[in-house]
């Protein structure tokens, strides 16, 4: 039996084996993540009951008992965790103590805002970081390299929450170029919800006014969020490019008389790109973290803002749900990145 399973396993194509193995690791990580977030919410010294009932109601033992029973807080811990996991498998993340709504619904509502913001920010960061990194590597140790080094270090050194405030002050308050905080102008709501990404929805329905409003609200927070990642990707691209520039095949290409432009873009960038892809997964995690700060300044109704508000309110279910979802997104992105990398570079599957 064991032999058969083994044989069947090795009969699978190696890329599929790799994907399945990584997928299994991803699922295990997610289970571990639920364990961590559950454990954390159990060591809370602040009583969640008091935090959400208010002082007056918390003084009444009957109300407290009813409250604990309603949310299952009176059961032993392993049972609470088992119930939570069981519900999780059915897509039920429990009820938020704060909004009195299912956490899953809350998350679904807030997730699209974060996804829209981070996709746009990541695109800006990848394009900017790649361009700056290539210029720096090609001009190694000359002035463009030095300038880019200082700029990229500044990018990873600037406090995101402060930059958000400063940009909002300058571009909204002083210059009036930015329409301000939120996803849409006050009073405007997206008429349709297809994907939840306002820009895509507007495009699909041909609503150009909405598209413009969504884009103009998106621009500033996305650029601020991208700053850190631009710095990081620039530095990594430069290092990867320098590595690739030292390879023999680059010297051969130059010796053949190829124009430098072709050498850089065809022979150097391609191997460097494989390495850059891996790092962009990590960069995405940092970006999700930075999103908490950017979202809180720009009143962006996303996961980060939700996480922050539930953390302040000691909202157990919500914290568990949101950290689970963010970690799951992060794990998933890194999974995709690993698979992309394996597709680009077949050598990786062997290890």
């Amino acid at each position: 039996m064991e032999q058969q399973i083994k044989r069947a396993w090795y009969a699978l194509p190696s890329l599929l084996r790799f994907v399945l193995r990584r997928l299994a690791v991803g699922v295990l990580l997610c289970v571990g993540v639920t364990l961590i977030s559950f454990t954390l919410t159990q060591v809370v010294p602040g009583d969640p009951v008091a935090a959400s009932l208010g002082e007056h109601a918390a003084a009444d033992p009957d109300t407290v008992a009813a409250f604990r029973q309603r949310f299952g807080l009176d059961k032993p811990l392993p049972e609470q965790y088992a119930i939570y996991l069981g519900n999780l498998l059915q897509g039920n993340l429990g009820e938020s103590l704060q909004t009195r709504r299912p956490v899953a619904d809350d998350l679904a509502k807030y997730m699209s805002a974060t996804i829209e913001l981070s996709i746009v920010a990541m695109t800006i960061a990848m394009l900017g970081g790649l361009a700056l990194g290539i210029v720096a590597a090609v001009n190694r140790d000359r002035w463009p390299d030095q300038v880019i080094r200082v700029v990229s270090l500044a990018g990873v050194s600037v406090p995101t929450f402060w930059l958000s405030l400063v940009c909002l002050y300058v571009f909204f308050f002083q210059l009036g170029w930015s329409p301000g905080v939120g996803r849409l102008p006050p009073g405007v709501s997206s008429p349709v919800t297809i994907t939840g990404l306002y820009t895509i929805d507007a495009l699909l329905t041909g609503n150009w006014k909405l598209l413009w409003q969504a884009l103009s609200h998106l621009a500033l927070p996305a650029m601020v969020l991208a700053i850190y990642t631009i710095g990081a990707i620039t530095r990594f691209t430069r290092a990867a490019m320098l590595d690739a520039l030292q390879q023999d095949f680059v010297r051969s290409a130059r010796a053949k008389g190829m124009p430098e432009r072709t050498v850089v873009l065809r022979h150097v960038l391609r191997p460097a790109l494989a390495a850059i892809i891996t790092v962009s997964g990590m960069a995405f995690g940092r970006m999700l973290g930075g999103a908490v700060l950017v979202e809180s300044v720009f009143s962006w109704p996303g996961l980060g803002e939700y996480a922050y508000r539930s953390a302040l309110a000691l909202d157990l279910r919500a914290i568990m749900g949101v950290s689970l979802v963010i970690a799951a997104i992060y794990i998933l992105v890194n999974l995709v990145v690993d698979i992309l990398y394996a597709v680009v570079d077949p050598r990786i599957r062997l290890s």
Binding site: L29, G32, V33, I36, S37, L40, T41, V43, V44, P45, G46, R149, V150, L153, A154, V156, S157, V158, P159, T160, F161, W162, L163, L165, V166, Y169, F173, A232, I233, F236, R238, A239, A240, L242, D243, A275, V279, M282, A283, G285, R286, L288, G289, G290, V292, L293, S296, V297, A307, Y308, S310, A311, L312, L314, I319, S323, I326, A327, Y330, I331
Partner: protein, 290 residues
């Protein structure tokens, strides 16, 4: 970090590398900036014109000759508060980095040296922590422990030890098989003695460089937590919470601009220094991240 074993002949190199790093203009600038800031922080009570917590009737004054950075909603002098802020953020960040480096190094050393199930348990725990974006997990931990600066430090230690553990473990895996380590074990040295006498000196340099690189990040994440109200609490003159106070009075730009600039300057200085040191130790390192 280096994955090849460090040849014995190279053991004395690091000091030479450090010396060459000092000569790099960027590293020199970073070190100079940090030195000035540390001196300013130490001498703060004698340097600043006002008590950082003294209130006055001159509220919301824009920057002027008397109050260089203006005053806040309670009429406190922002310049004095920003200088005093260095006495909060910098030592806490240092404490954080040292704790994370020590814990991470010990965990990585145990995992790498003993291998087997100990290794699996420690490294899976590290993977697990690293599968969260760091500030999210730190937020959850602080929310659980209660929002104050010390708990914020603990929370960030919990999320930042794995990076040290990974680096140290990978170094130990190669060092373990070095002839001088093997011979020390053959001579009957205990595991603890081997780790301390033969392995620690080789690991110390890279860990110190990593810690220098992480210092700036520590300042950023701590002030970020304080900005969110999960770290230092008012009226503490902490840069992150000062920015957050200033954000409530949006048109009084000086209230949040100057404390934020202070964060930027400290982190930039630390990163200038860390980056230069990293280059000196490992010139073609691809570790732009962490």
């Amino acid at each position: 970090m280096t994955t090849s074993p460090i040849p014995i002949a190279d053991i004395h190199r690091p000091s030479g590398k450090v010396r060459s790093a000092w000569l790099q203009p960027l590293g020199l600038i970073g070190a100079g900036m940090l030195l000035i800031i540390v001196v300013a922080a130490v001498l703060a009570p004698w340097l600043v014109p006002h008590d950082p917590n003294a209130q006055s009737f001159g509220r919301f004054l824009p920057p002027n000759a008397e109050n260089w950075f203006g005053t806040d909603q309670l009429g406190r002098d922002i310049f004095s508060r920003v200088v005093h802020g260095a006495r909060v953020s910098m030592p806490y960040a240092l404490q954080l980095v040292v704790m994370a480096a020590v814990i991470g190094t010990i965990a990585g050393a145990i995992a790498g040296y003993f291998g087997g199930w100990v290794d699996s348990v420690i490294m899976r725990a590290a993977d697990l922590v690293m599968s969260f974006p760091d500030i999210i997990l730190a937020m959850a931990v602080v929310a659980a422990l209660g929002p104050n600066l010390f708990n914020a430090v603990l929370a960030v230690v919990i999320v930042s030890w794995p990076i040290y553990a990974r680096v140290v473990r990978s170094m130990i895996l190669t060092l373990r098989d070095e002839p001088y380590v093997q011979s020390s074990r053959l001579l009957g040295a205990s595991s603890g003695r081997t780790l301390w006498r033969d392995i620690r000196p080789n690991v110390a340099g890279p860990v110190a460089v990593l810690a220098a690189l992480e210092y700036g990040h520590a300042v950023l994440i701590l002030s970020g937590l304080s900005f969110l109200g999960l770290g230092a609490q008012p009226p503490t003159a902490e840069w992150g919470s000062m920015v957050s106070e200033g954000a409530k009075y949006f048109d009084k730009w000086w209230m949040s601009v100057f404390p934020g600039l202070a964060i930027l300057v400290v982190v930039l200085a630390a990163n200038f220094l860390g980056d230069t040191l990293r280059d000196a130790f490992d010139p073609k390192s691809a570790k732009a991240f962490r």
